[in-house]
Homo-oligomer: 395 residues x 2
């Protein structure tokens, strides 16, 4: 049974100080709740707000990533695993950051900016600073969506730098909150069924060194203190981290074209069994290039083993180098276990489907695809476990 | 059908210049041949010489090893794989170097010394020098045995340093020629169905450094030039090499108690499929110690991969460290492929059976056992292939 929780609007006035134009709508959103059996037309100028149609409730995934919010390759790979393409809400704000597919809704946490571009400039804070973000509203709305309650979420317009009128977000089967701070606020963090941190700080450092434009260097440099203070520490809370590092296959590599990517998977997370190579729990390095597989320079090297990460037990799968051809990928896939595929070769199929996406020939694409499969598996296990135990009804 | 080839005795007088007391017996051995259907009693004071009772002929294995001839741990492990214990010939010379089991006869190539201890001392040559060995007789007799013809083989008495009267060697199913020079003479080498080189020169070097006795140091030092000139070069002809090296798990290890052992397996040898770890033909390192398996310091590390050895394609399996307990061994066995076992856990069973043999807790015992299984497999495949094709009858 779907749960419809009337929201307490007493904290409302402090929540969106920059937004006056849709107070009534949000206030409405915080109170209203219908069980959705079919789609409703907007009434009294407001979008209809519905409860989650799935009795299993909404599974919430947090993805901490510094760029490409909502339209990121990672999200496109993730939604592809569930089938169907993710698209912006139909007929809505063309600058919406939201992506919706049959099962998945990806919202961009930039939409919870409490200060717009001008406001940040005036107060001298970056978008990375918690002061520029409204965590109370983020928490309220993620909690509402998780409970099956639709919300009217603000839109941060990346083109104008302004806060646009809100859009309605219905509770999906899977809600992905993507952006700078999905694990920053403890309350929001506790709502997450699974969390991922995309750690490209090393790649960014490399890019910075490579950039000739002083303005880009300066921009990266200016963000660094806030990044280190507010973004980077979220790593410790992530169930999975995808870390991008320079290759070790090329001695003293300065080009940064070949990447070494690590998938750090936390142990003991319910419904999440880390992927392993050959032998679970032991330490392995594997160079698949040899008699059966010919790779071009500098080849491919996988490493797998147990480790600790911020004091917690993790398993780490690392890929250094890049694929030349399809047969390398299927060869690699056939030697990985706990992939949560539904058929032999599904990883390779997904990668081929999006061969034009960035990272399709290296560990970023591979691990994003694998994490997508793990999230599908986690979702299905969560749904199955909720179907077994009766849903707790809240007053 | 068994093949009985009368031997040409024209070269006889030059063959065993030091041996006069059994000329007649050897001459007899070189001419006589019966088909054996049952065991015969000695006639005219000579042991009866019989042809091989197996139509498949005798499979000949060469083992180059510098010490412990005939009674070596390796041979005990090998014969154990075939079942039944290997024992010295019953009722014969108590100082015989030969070991006989139901299927296997191990002869010691020291028996082909042409110079006894005094002779070597007089001529100033070591036992390693080809001048102290009779390769013509070695070739004649190994060839005879391979063709199903029994021989009267001299005995080098390690106790007295003299050449004792000959003993009869019947053609067994498997003949192992073990000693200093199984692959030295090209003719003998071509008779081998499989060859193994036990490379403990590094271990010996370590032992030398560790020895306090000047006499032992001097003895090892004195052998070195001949060893390098005549023994070591046989490595290049071996189908399998077991190489004993110092561990790399303990930084700057000087104790030499923990060994790193490499099994170097030649590619493209008929009926010999090299053992592999996880993925055939790729390069892998594996530390099985971790979440599933707890190892004491310094742990265990396996390495596997393709390589070249004297310009030839080989696969190398390396074990560094030592086993603490049984479950480590069965755990390791379960991850190795192409072991040629007849049932799950046979390697572990064999190792347990001879837990008191030297090297049972490290790579020497493991790889000796594995080579034993590979030889059994090679033997069975050879027999099967010969059963399919008609035996070529020689005049």
């Amino acid at each position: 049974m779907a749960i419809c929780t009337p929201l307490n609007s007493s904290t409302y006035s402090s929540i969106i100080p920059q937004q006056n134009h849709h107070d009534a709508a949000v206030s409405f959103a915080r109170r209203a709740c219908w069980r959705a059996t079919s789609s409703h037309r907007p009434r009294r100028g407001f979008t209809v707000i519905t409860c989650a149609s799935s009795d299993a409730g909404t599974v919430v995934i947090g993805l901490a990533a510094d760029s490409g919010c909502g339209k990121s390759t990672f999200m496109r790979r993730l939604t592809s695993v569930f089938g169907g393409a993710a698209e912006p809400p139909k007929g809505g704000n063309p600058d919406s950051n939201t992506l919706i597919s049959d099962t998945t809704t990806v919202i961009c946490l930039d939409d919870y900016h409490s200060l717009d571009r001008t406001g940040r400039k005036e107060k001298g804070v970056t978008a990375l600073d918690p002061k520029a973000n409204d965590f109370d509203l983020m928490y309220d709305q993620v909690k509402a969506l998780k409970s099956g309650v639709a919300v009217e979420k603000p839109i941060y317009n990346h083109v104008t730098g302004l806060l646009d009128p809100a859009e309605v977000i219905k509770p999906p089967k899977i809600l992905v909150i993507e952006g700078l701070h999905p694990m920053f606020d403890e309350r929001v963090r506790k709502l997450l069924d699974f969390s991922i941190y995309l750690d490209i700080s090393n790649e960014r450092d490399m890019a910075e060194r490579g950039h000739s434009l002083e303005s880009i260097k300066a921009s990266i440099e200016a963000r660094k203190p806030d990044f280190d203070a507010y973004i980077d520490p979220q790593k410790q809370y992530a169930d999975a981290v995808i870390e991008v590092l320079p290759t070790t296959l090329i001695p003293d590599d300065n080009e940064g074209k070949v990447l070494r990517v690590r998938l750090i998977m936390k142990e003991g997370v319910k419904f999440f069994n880390p992927v392993y190579l050959f032998d679970e729990g032991s330490t392995i390095s594997w160079i698949p290039c040899g008699r059966k597989l010919t790779c071009s320079y500098p080849g491919i090297k996988f490493t797998y083993g147990p480790d600790t990460y911020f004091g917690q037990e993790v398993s780490v799968l690392e890929m250094d180098g890049q694929f030349d051809r399809l047969d390398e990928l299927i060869y690699v896939e056939s030697h990985l276990s706990n992939l949560s595929t539904k058929f032999y070769g599904e990883v390779t199929q997904q990668m081929l489907k999006h061969a034009d996406f960035p990272g399709s020939n290296n560990g970023t694409g591979l691990f994003q695809t694998i994490v997508g499969l793990k999230i599908r598996d986690l979702f299905e296990q969560l749904v199955a476990s909720k179907a077994k135990s009766p849903v707790e009804a809240k007053a």
